[in-house]
């Protein structure tokens, strides 16, 4: 952080050099190019590292004390290790990163080689000793069977017929999709697939896939499509979607933690929250569901829909025994 870059680079290089001797010791006669690829450095960098090690060794620093290596063409073998025959122990951060990642993997629904994950976890924890006692617990929700089936479907390379609930439109539809991969993001499983109906890549939440049938035909994802980068979340609203602005009371401020918001401005006790929505009918359901603590600032069209819908609903309740079915399809 406050360290100069040069010092960081030197620490990285020292870590690499201390790894390099045991790495080569375990692989006598390895090709330099292969080792460089494995270690994530250029061949030139690796040769420079070897050169540096070659002048390091035990006190005395005579020919018999220095690290020694034999070269055979492009292959290298350590012939004397000067005592650095093992890599350094895992640091606290390294143990944490590996152990927690393995715990997450072990908890991920639909991972079928769970025994291997747990075996690896036990061995890494054992090697990390006290450091592995990371006080971290993981519980991922999800229907393991469903994720497992989706994974198998992706691996089968066949198209799928799915029944999918689209929350944005509150409708359940059937569609044929060409699966690309199954992901777990933020504790939720998704199927990323080419949707033939929408003619585009879509992320389908596994818990909203109500039926899934493997078809006989092969999955054909158009060659130009790329998997979505999900590092910033699955739903990234496009700038051309309708923007709504809500006046949000204290009790409903939590929505800013749940939905990606374009802008949040405090206005006295309340917040003015702007977000993009895929569908105004969804926004209407959102506003109604949030209750009296939230009012629509814009667009006027949405405020009008909310008012009209509330009037219809209240009207239905005011007529005892009146059929909900008698209400016209609201908001359309």
């Amino acid at each position: 952080m406050s360290r100069p870059n040069g010092s960081r680079a030197s620490a990285d290089r020292l870590a690499r050099l201390l790894n390099l001797v045991p790495y080569l010791l375990a692989r006598p006669g390895i090709e330099i190019a292969e080792a460089a690829g494995d270690l994530g450095v250029t061949e030139r960098q690796l040769r420079e590292d070897l050169e540096l090690l070659w002048v390091c060794g035990l006190p005395g620093y005579g020919p018999g004390d220095l690290i020694d290596m034999a070269f055979d063409g492009d292959r290298v073998t350590i012939t004397y290790d000067a005592g650095i025959d093992r890599p350094l122990r895992l640091t606290q951060d390294e143990a944490l990163a590996l152990v927690v990642a393995l715990r997450l993997l072990a908890e991920t629904p639909g991972v079928d080689n769970r025994d291997a994950v747990e075996g690896a976890l036990a061995k890494i924890e054992d090697a990390a000793g006290d450091l592995a006692g990371a006080p971290v617990a993981v519980r991922l929700p999800g229907d393991g069977d469903r994720v497992h089936r989706l994974r198998a479907a992706v691996q089968s390379g066949r198209a799928l017929r799915i029944t999918y609930y689209t929350a944005a439109r509150d409708e359940t539809t059937e569609r044929t999709v060409d699966p690309l991969r199954v992901l777990m993001v933020g504790g939720r499983a998704y199927l990323e697939a080419w949707c033939r109906r929408a003619e585009g890549m879509r992320m389908f939440r596994a818990d909203r896939i109500d039926e899934c049938l493997e078809l006989d035909e092969p999955a054909t994802v158009p060659p130009h499509v790329r998997p979505q980068d999900v590092s910033a979340g699955v739903f990234r609203p496009a700038p051309d979607l309708p923007l709504i602005t809500l006046r949000v009371g204290r009790g409903a401020r939590w929505i800013t933690e749940y939905y990606p918001c374009e802008q949040v401005r405090p206005d006295g006790d309340q917040w003015l929250v702007s977000l993009r929505v895929t569908d105004l009918a969804w926004a209407r359901r959102l506003v109604l569901g949030l209750g009296p603590g939230v009012t629509v600032v814009s667009p006027a069209e949405l405020a009008e829909e909310v008012r009209a819908q509330v009037a219809l609903a209240l009207d239905a309740y005011s007529r005892p025994g009146a059929a909900a079915a008698a209400a016209p399809a609201a908001g359309q």
Partner: protein
């Protein structure tokens, strides 16, 4: 560059490069000129080289070596101990080097060689230094490779890959291309690492915490017991010193830095600690034991139909039986469907829905009257 090539010559007299005829690209072979001594050349050796030699030296000794002994042994520490300025420069250099080794995780031991020594000495126990032998089966190795790629967070991703580099150096061949056909993507909040470390060391922490319903962050004092991931979100569980009670905090709501205060080992978490159940209880999830009956317009309210326990078409619409635990929460959900859904029973849900609808109507009518401002 030049100095290093000369060193090579020092090492093997006028011998050839170890690559015999395959010098490093772009570098010229510079033989050591006559009369140059190793000690002069050693001064110009790089810092990294000095540190590697320091590690090797301290690993090879069973006795604690004092700074003066190290200076007399390890190349790169040569100085005139009688010259105060030179000596001070050496001490600063040695302190920096020790700090760098400790930061890398090198277990530098301090002690004295005998009861008569007053000056501290240093050594590294191989047993403490070395990664123990890890024997992984091929599928276990693949799992480690996948796990190391899980992190999207830069800090943990770097830690995972340097951990993986050590496993490789330990002789494990990790295939970095292995996949699961299932890609977990994990993100953590910045407070994750400091809180996890504090929990492991049992150190009290302070942090600012802001819940959306509050206008300002409040400062909290916590004895953290552990961190838990629940439904894709991270929480810290511990003893809240201000409330004198067990509390959960969502890491995404921690603002600013987490500060450790006081010594390690300051408290002990409960012996039967179950982090997940604390978080689950805190999040207030309850078994939906109650039932509500609603009428839904045919073909609409698809979201409700998916979790209805029972659905039956009728003259006035489809009757859906819905499980719930909190009447107000259910009312909020049902109001979302507007006139497409009408609650038949129980009265507590029906009344809550009507009350909400009335309040929303009043608020939006006011809004229309004032042109957007309330």
């Amino acid at each position: 560059m030049r100095a290093r090539y000369r060193l090579r010559a020092v090492r093997h007299g006028q011998g050839p490069s170890p690559y015999s005829g395959a010098p490093v690209a772009g570098a010229a072979w510079v033989p050591a000129s006559a009369g140059t001594t190793a000690s002069v050349l050693r001064v110009s050796r790089s810092r990294t080289e000095r540190l590697v030699n320091l590690v090797i030296c301290l690993l090879s000794t069973r006795r604690f070596l004092t700074a003066a002994q190290i200076a007399a042994t390890v190349p790169g520490y040569e100085h005139d101990a009688d010259d105060p300025r030179d000596h001070e420069a050496f001490q600063r250099k040695f302190e920096r080097d020790k700090a760098e080794l400790r930061e890398l995780g090198v277990p530098l031991e301090t002690g004295t060689a005998s009861a008569f020594d007053t000056e501290p000495g240093y050594r590294i126990a191989h047993r403490e230094y070395a990664l123990p032998d890890i024997r992984l089966e091929p599928d276990e190795t693949a799992a480690v490779g996948i796990a190391a790629r899980l992190w999207q967070h830069a800090g943990l991703a770097a830690a995972a890959s340097s951990g993986l580099a050590k496993l490789r150096a330990g002789g494990i061949d990790v295939d970095s291309r292995a996949t699961l056909a299932l890609e977990p993507v994990v993100t953590v909040d910045p407070a994750f690492a400091p809180l996890t470390t504090a929990a492991r060391e049992r150190r009290e922490v302070r942090f600012d915490y802001r819940v959306p319903a509050e206008d300002v962050a409040t400062s909290r004092r916590l004895q953290p017991w552990g961190v838990a991931c629940w439904r894709g979100r991270w929480y810290v569980v511990g003893h809240d010193l201000d409330r004198d009670a067990t509390r959960c905090f969502r890491l995404s709501r921690v603002t600013g830095a987490v500060r450790c205060v006081g010594p390690a080992g300051a408290y002990a978490p409960p012996a039967d600690l179950d982090l997940i159940s604390h978080v689950a209880r805190w999040s207030g999830e309850r078994e939906p034991a109650a039932r509500a009956v609603v009428l839904a317009v045919p073909g609409r309210a698809a979201g409700l139909r998916r979790w209805a326990l029972h659905s039956e078409p009728g003259r006035h619409g489809d009757r859906l039986v819905l499980p719930y635990s909190d009447a107000e929460a259910l009312a909020g959900q049902l109001v979302g469907y507007g006139a497409d859904v009408q609650v038949l029973e129980p009265p507590e849900v029906r009344d809550a829905v009507i009350q909400r609808l009335k309040e929303i109507a009043v608020r939006h009518d006011e809004l229309a009257a004032t042109g957007g401002r309330l």
